[in-house]
Amino acid sequence: MNKLSGAALRQSPTRRASPLSGPLPWLLPVLLMIGVFYLYPILDALRLAFTNASLIGREETYTTRSILAMLANPALGTVLRNTAVFTGASVIGQVLLGLAIALLVVRGERNRLPGMLALRTIVLTAWVIPGVANGIIWSMLFNEAPYGAINSALRLLDIPPVAWLSNPANAMISTIIANVWQGTAFSMIVLYAAIKSIDPVLYEAAAVDGARPWERLWFITLPQLRAALIVNAILVTIQTLNTFDAIISLTGGGPGRATEVLSLFTYNTVFYSYDLAGGSALSMLMLLISLGLACVYALFLPRPEAIR
């Protein structure tokens, strides 16, 4: 063992001089992977945003007109407002509901209640359903025809039917409900794992001090979950900003533009208007918004020294 170590030490100056020494060879595969599959598409989208590229295939020239036109598009204000409402409400809804279910499951497991595994599985089922299927399921539930599922149930209870999707304001709420229903499981799993890792000694000490349940939640659980909550919020925000599959099958962005969010607007720009440059400009805007929000969240992450 010592002999080997000695030999390795003797060879070390030669190895340092070699281009194959150091961390680079070990990092190269992952750098290549990120470069080819992540960085290149981003750079190409950035390049396309500065062109007049179209799916119709005319000659490509470099210009800033596509970006300026997209920023001046009268629909962009409505779309950004929809995106803010949809993302904000979805993130708050998913994190709060995910936290509530995680607390419920942990509490149930602590009290050895039966069915906790089944509860977790049921919640997760919604998460594995593809977005398009999620939209179709909710469009059947929200269907405003006399045979629509929810409205039929309301009629049985002598409650007047609700314009779930045809009223612009309700349509946004319905879209958020469908998205929260699907995304809650992700938050639940992240927060469930985080709650399980909280040192039980903290709760025992609080019990000795006579802390009530809401005080244990406020002074122990939530502060201990801070990092998990923020990371969860970042991931859910990015995921929600990119959501368009559920919306396209639920409302198609309508009525009018009432539920058209930035990702759907980008998709429509490319695949309906064949405007590749405009779509690329919008996707750059989405990237900037995602990065900006991630940076804002990161400011609230606990510092390493604070954790120590």
Partner: protein, 437 residues
């Protein structure tokens, strides 16, 4: 039970082998059509064909079986060939964009079904191969004029075969609406009468879908309105066209405001939603496509189906009528003449026996006489309505026009914008996009 002797075992084996050999050709015949190909797997020549899921791979077993037989006959008449089939998903806009992009990059299918609404885009992109050599002059001359214009380029080349057309008509349940409404006013009155009888009123597409814009355009066209000028620039928001556009908008807006149509029309994005309502008996009046007639006949019990009749879409007056005509084309996207010939053969297969099998509307007058399937009374109504048929403007900018009209109709029908404001906003967005694109 006695054990079989060695002789009888050998006889049984030989019998089974003989039966297998007899059955083998039949098995081979069946396997000529699979989920991803038509023809023998080891064929020398291969053509890739991207098709929709409404015929050979239809969810309806009878349709799929009928087309499998047609394709089997076709491939047997073209020995040495195999057709590799590629199915388009239900997201047709995205599929059409993908075909266009792949064809421009040289990776597209050899032959594909193209939505007639996208033909102008494909023509402008220059990816369609002329098929003139495989059609006689008489065959080309027999195409309906709007079809011939749609599939020909400036040099008169036939760039695709628009194999079936469709049109929009007014459906009514004669138990509730005995007489066909001829005007907008009569339509609103008839719809209100059905509402008084506990039904939903008139249904039509009003969500974010091409059908919404296209169905509604008939009301604009009925007044002689024009969407674009000869250069393809949108002009529907200017001068007389603006007045006509607003009148057509106010007609559908009035239907919702008066309760003659439910506000939920803004959520209707497929004709199937409307067929479902008709089948459920919640509506007695709707604007639909001609193909829904056969759907109703096959869905409803015969005595209920018999109550449904079709008539021309109403106009502002009984004399001013129009209907949007769509449909699908088949085009070759390859330079290989042998493949173009096979593609043209497939197009003829769909246009003739394929249309007859599905009872769709052929685009050539001669085919109506050739097949008995087009003898039904409803085809008389369709043929009369086709005289006022209007195809989408053959300009590549059409998808953007359609999108803006879908948005403004949604805004008007959901009462979130007044017709004038919605039109102004849509026109501003369209002109900005037109000037840039």
């Amino acid at each position: 039970m006695a054990r079989p002797s060695k002789t009888s075992l050998i006889a049984n084996c030989l019998g089974a082998t003989a039966l297998s050999l007899i059955a083998l050709p039949a098995f081979a015949q069946e396997s000529l059509v699979t989920r991803d190909r038509v023809g023998p797997a080891d064929a020398e020549n291969v053509l890739t064909f991207r098709l929709t899921a409404y015929d050979l791979y239809s969810a309806d077993p009878a349709t799929a079986e009928g087309f499998a037989e047609l394709f089997t006959d076709f491939i047997q008449q073209h020995p040495g060939w195999r057709i590799d089939t590629q199915l388009q998903t239900g997201n047709l806009n995205e599929e059409q964009a993908r075909i266009l992009e792949q064809s421009q990059a040289g990776r597209g299918p050899d032959c594909a079904m193209i939505d007639s609404a996208q033909l102008a885009t494909f023509k402008q992109a220059g990816v369609l191969a002329p098929m003139n050599d495989f059609f006689t002059e008489a065959e080309i001359a027999d195409l309906f004029p709007f079809v011939r214009d749609g599939v020909s380029d400036e040099e008169g080349n036939l760039l695709a075969l628009w194999w079936f057309t469709d049109l929009r008509v007014l459906y009514r349940n004669t138990e509730y609406v005995p007489e066909a409404p001829q005007t907008w006013e009569e339509t609103e009155a008839a719809a209100l009468a059905t509402v008084e009888q506990g039904l939903e009123g008139i249904l039509f597409n009003g969500g974010r879908t091409e059908g919404t814009a296209f169905d509604w355009m008939a009301f604009f066209w009925a007044q002689g309105g024009e969407l674009v000028d000869e250069n393809g620039r949108p002009i529907f928001h200017e001068g007389e066209n603006r007045e006509k556009f607003l009148r057509a908008l106010e007609f559908v807006d009035g239907l919702v405001e008066s309760g003659a149509a439910p506000q939920r029309v803004t959520t209707i994005t497929t004709y199937d939603d409307i067929t479902a309502s008709a089948a459920a008996g919640t509506t007695a009046l709707f604007i639909g496509g001609n193909w829904q007639y056969a759907q109703l006949q096959s869905t409803l019990p015969p005595e209920e189906a018999a109550k449904w009749e079709v008539s021309e879409l109403p106009g502002p007056t009984a004399e001013e009528r129009a209907t949007g005509t769509g449909g699908w084309a088949i085009a070759a996207l390859t330079d290989d003449p042998a493949k173009v010939e096979i593609c043209a053969g497939i197009a003829k297969l769909y246009a003739g026996p394929g249309n007859a099998f599905q009872r769709l509307l052929p685009t050539s007058a001669a085919l109506y006489d050739e097949y008995d399937e087009f003898a039904g009374a409803e085809f008389g109504v369709f043929a009369a309505a086709l005289e006022n048929g209007q195809a989408r403007p053959g300009v590549p900018f059409y998808p953007e026009i359609s999108t803006q009209i879908q948005v403004l109709l949604g805004e008007v029908l959901s009462q979130s914008k007044e017709p004038e404001q919605a039109l102004d906003d849509a026109a501003a967005a369209l002109i900005a996009a037109y000037d840039r694109l």
